[in-house]
């Protein structure tokens, strides 16, 4: 029993190391393709368009309700002190620096990242990747790099959109639920929230996009075992992306001003 | 036994079955053939009430199946055993539990020993003694088919439906499976419906043929009359010609 337990722990540690190593190798190969930048521009454009169009509705919905949730939390806190002038600041600060990039990153991972894993995984099990290799087309250059670049750019842009929508949502719900007038929300927001808060969140968003891209591509191109394998890879990819987002958030919070 | 009258079915806004009228006498053996995606499997599942037709009547053993709500359809389904195209073995159950599952559901009070004995007898009949404790994922394609057949036949249902009993199997295993099906049929005198793309092997086994193309019946009659069928689709398909409407 005890031996069994240690074997299981050892196996999962080894497995974790293998996945991390695989992701780092992929990172290395992607960087090589970017120095100097040589990759497929058409594929990048296609991916940008596809990922953007696919995610806009979900990002807008998420951001709108995130704004609402944050304004309610701020309201619960300030009601006690009667300090409604703090609501705009509290909601804006939380949304821009932490909760916005984090929740949008998680939703992006669920929408675009998992889709990407499923797509690449299906290409692997139907031997399309081997087909590309047979035509001496480098799959990293042709498939991976465009996706990585698209995800970084798209999550960055979508977070800008999400930030705006979340603040609008927070202001609206603040008026309806917490008796904070739009004017006082705006005063509190514009006086206390700085450009640094926004850039802090946006840099995080770009890094999250990079992490989602790397994990989803890695689990996609290493799919084994046919149809069931694709499902398992998608599952692993979203979990790894969530872990990566939270851990990098932890590090970035210190590193960024 | 089963009477279809003008069945029409749509799946995700796409017509799959169109005006299927078909009468199956008790004790007859039917084969359903046709090009891929012609609605063969959907027709078989509709007969069990797994799909509800949009139009038309379906009477199974005197019961209007589509008119029943889902929980009551089990009364009709108990008269049917089905081998699914993908075998549909429950991957959370072992082989023996898989085979015994329908029997245990149908007779909740049956003692455990009798269930096991019946399932073992069934596994012996399909030549899989000794695999009782294996998981479905440990079996080869042919073995999975045979477990599926064992599970479909364990309740001695009067109607048996086999969806692609030999797809992906080698010729020797194919012959063995058809021998097995013939033996089962002679023993229980059941009504059998078999779907297959392997027409020569299927034609040895059945005495009636239904030919489906794009959800419509192109031929419905005795097996011997298939050669003489004038329909250009049937003519081309049965002879495997490259020239023609397909």
């Amino acid at each position: 029993m005890a031996g069994n337990f240690f074997a299981a722990v050892g196996a999962s540690v080894l497995n974790l190391c293998a996945e991390v190593g695989g992701i780092l190798t992929l990172l290395f190969r992607v960087l090589i393709c970017l120095l100097p930048p040589r990759f497929d521009l058409d594929e990048t454009w296609r991916n940008l368009h596809k990922m953007g169009v696919r995610s806009v509705p979900i990002i807008v919905l998420t951001a709108f309700f995130t704004g609402g949730i944050m304004v309610i939390q701020a309201a619960v806190f300030v009601k006690k002190f009667g300090a409604t002038s703090l609501v705009g600041w509290g909601a804006g600060y939380a949304v821009f620096r932490e909760i916005g990039p984090m929740l949008l990153g998680l939703m992006f991972s669920g929408r675009v990242g998992s889709n990407n894993t499923a797509e690449l995984g299906t290409m692997v099990v139907t031997e399309q990747i081997d087909g590309l290799r047979a035509l001496s087309i480098d799959p990293v250059r042709y498939l991976i790099v465009p996706r990585v670049l698209s995800m970084i750019v798209m999550l960055f842009l979508l977070t800008i959109l999400g930030d705006v929508v979340a603040i609008v949502g927070a202001a609206l719900f603040g008026t309806v639920l917490a008796d904070v007038s739009l004017a006082s929300f705006w005063v509190s927001f514009s006086q206390n929230v700085h450009v640094a808060d926004v850039t802090h969140g946006l840099i995080k968003a770009a890094v999250f996009g990079f992490i989602v891209a790397l994990t989803s591509c890695h689990f996609g191109i290493t799919v084994k075992g046919g149809a069931v394998g694709v499902g398992r890879a998608v599952n692993n990819a979203v979990v790894a992306a969530a872990l990566g987002i939270v851990l990098s958030d932890y590090l970035l919070t210190y590193a960024l001003p | 036994m089963i009477h279809c009258d003008g069945l029409c079915l749509q799946l995700t806004h796409r017509p799959v079955l169109a005006d299927v009228t078909w009468h199956i006498e008790a004790g007859s053996v039917w084969g359903i053939i046709g090009p891929p995606a012609s609605g063969k499997s959907v027709l078989a599942k509709t007969l069990c009430g797994l799909f509800t037709p949009r139009q038309g009547r379906l009477i199974v053993d005197g019961v209007d199946l589509p008119g029943l709500p889902e929980p009551d359809r089990v009364r009709v389904r108990r008269k049917m055993g089905m081998l699914f195209q993908n075998n549909a073995l429950f991957d959370f159950l072992r082989v023996l539990e898989n085979v015994a599952f329908p029997l245990a559901r149908q007779n909740p009070k049956m003692p455990q020993d009798e269930l096991v004995a019946r399932a073992q007898e069934r596994l012996r009949a399909v030549g899989l003694s000794g695999s009782e404790e294996k998981w479905p994922s440990e079996l080869s394609g042919g073995m999975k088919k045979r477990v599926g057949i064992a599970r479909a036949t364990i309740c001695n249902a009067p109607v048996l439906i086999y969806d692609e009993p030999t797809a992906g199997l080698d010729p020797v295993t194919t012959s063995k499976i058809y021998d097995l099906l013939t033996g089962l049929r002679q023993k229980h005198a059941s009504t059998v419906i078999a779907i297959s793309s392997d027409i020569p092997a299927l034609r040895h086994f059945v005495d009636h043929i239904l030919f489906l193309h794009q959800g419509r019946i192109r031929y419905c009659g005795p097996e011997s009359g298939l050669e003489a069928c004038e329909d250009p689709v049937v003519y081309q398909f049965v002879r495997g010609q490259t020239e023609g409407p397909l």
């Binding site: 806009v56 509705p57 919905l61 998420t62 929740l103 069931v228 599952n235 969530a242 | -």
Partner: protein
């Protein structure tokens, strides 16, 4: 280009509405299954609880621990800039965790981990016709597959949420102490938590925990089209259950603000 965009938004909305009503019908059948158990499934509930706990314990520990540290860091940083009075950080942080952050963040993590797992499992059973085979023998797939996962997920989300609160508060205290010299005695003050906060937090956990398997189970059962279908179902499960969690969280927060938390 523009009309294309509107077409895709329109298709999205229509798809959401249709999915919403189908998921609602599955929810109804699940509730009926809970109160009129046809399947003897106590062992199955325990098995699913073990699966959920086993899958998520480490994941929740790592993610929520890191989040606890980050949130305390951000709050202290801001307070340092304005008042410099760190004495209220601990009590207000703990309170905010209990009624707001832990429920939504735990549920988001579980939607990713557990929701994807449920959809992949039930989805592959759907495409290999195992669900049809169950129906052939008169088993209702909702009773047999979703009800045990529903009960297990509700219980385990509650348990993991309480566990996550402990982790978050410990991690937060550690961060406040090491980076901002907040004394542990000042940090661990639980008097600020009202019964209203506790009620809102626990309600959220139970509701989110119940919603995840229903939404993902619906995604699994409506899988079509072979191996790619399972991947799509998993994707849909993650996104739909996350979105459901966010919207439910908003609704419960709003109700809580207007009722039990209004006086505080």
């Amino acid at each position: 280009m523009i009309s294309n965009f509107f077409a895709s938004v329109g298709a999205f909305v229509l798809g959401m509405v249709e999915a919403f009503f189908q998921a609602l019908s599955i929810a109804g059948r699940t509730f009926r299954g809970v109160f009129h158990p046809k399947e003897r499934a106590r062992g199955e509930v325990l098995h699913q609880m073990y699966q959920i706990g086993n899958r998520s314990l480490l994941f929740v520990t790592v993610t929520l621990g890191a989040l606890g540290m980050v949130l305390v860091f951000q709050v202290c940083l801001q307070i340092n800039k304005i008042t410099g009075d760190q004495s209220q950080v601990g009590p207000e942080f703990i309170r905010g965790m209990v009624h707001a952050f832990v429920p939504i963040l735990t549920a988001m993590m579980l939607a990713t981990r557990v929701g994807a797992g449920i959809a992949a499992e039930i989805g592959s059973m759907t495409v290999t016709e195992q669900v049809d085979a169950l129906r052939m023998t008169g088993v209702d797939p909702v009773d047999y597959l979703i009800v045990p996962r529903f009960l297990a997920s509700m219980i385990m989300t509650l348990v993991l949420g309480i566990y996550a609160t402990v982790i978050v508060v410990l991690a937060g205290a550690l961060m406040a102490h090491t980076a901002f010299d907040v004394n542990y005695n000042v940090f661990f003050v639980f008097e600020k938590i009202t019964w209203g906060d506790l009620g809102v937090g626990l309600t959220k956990l139970v509701v989110h925990g119940g919603a995840i398997p229903i939404v993902s189970g619906y995604c699994g059962l409506s899988t079509t089209g072979g191996s790619e279908g399972v991947g799509t179902a998993t994707t849909r499960a993650v996104i739909n259950s996350s979105l459901t969690v966010i919207i439910l969280d908003f609704v419960i927060s709003a109700i809580g603000l207007m009722t039990v938390q209004s006086g505080t």
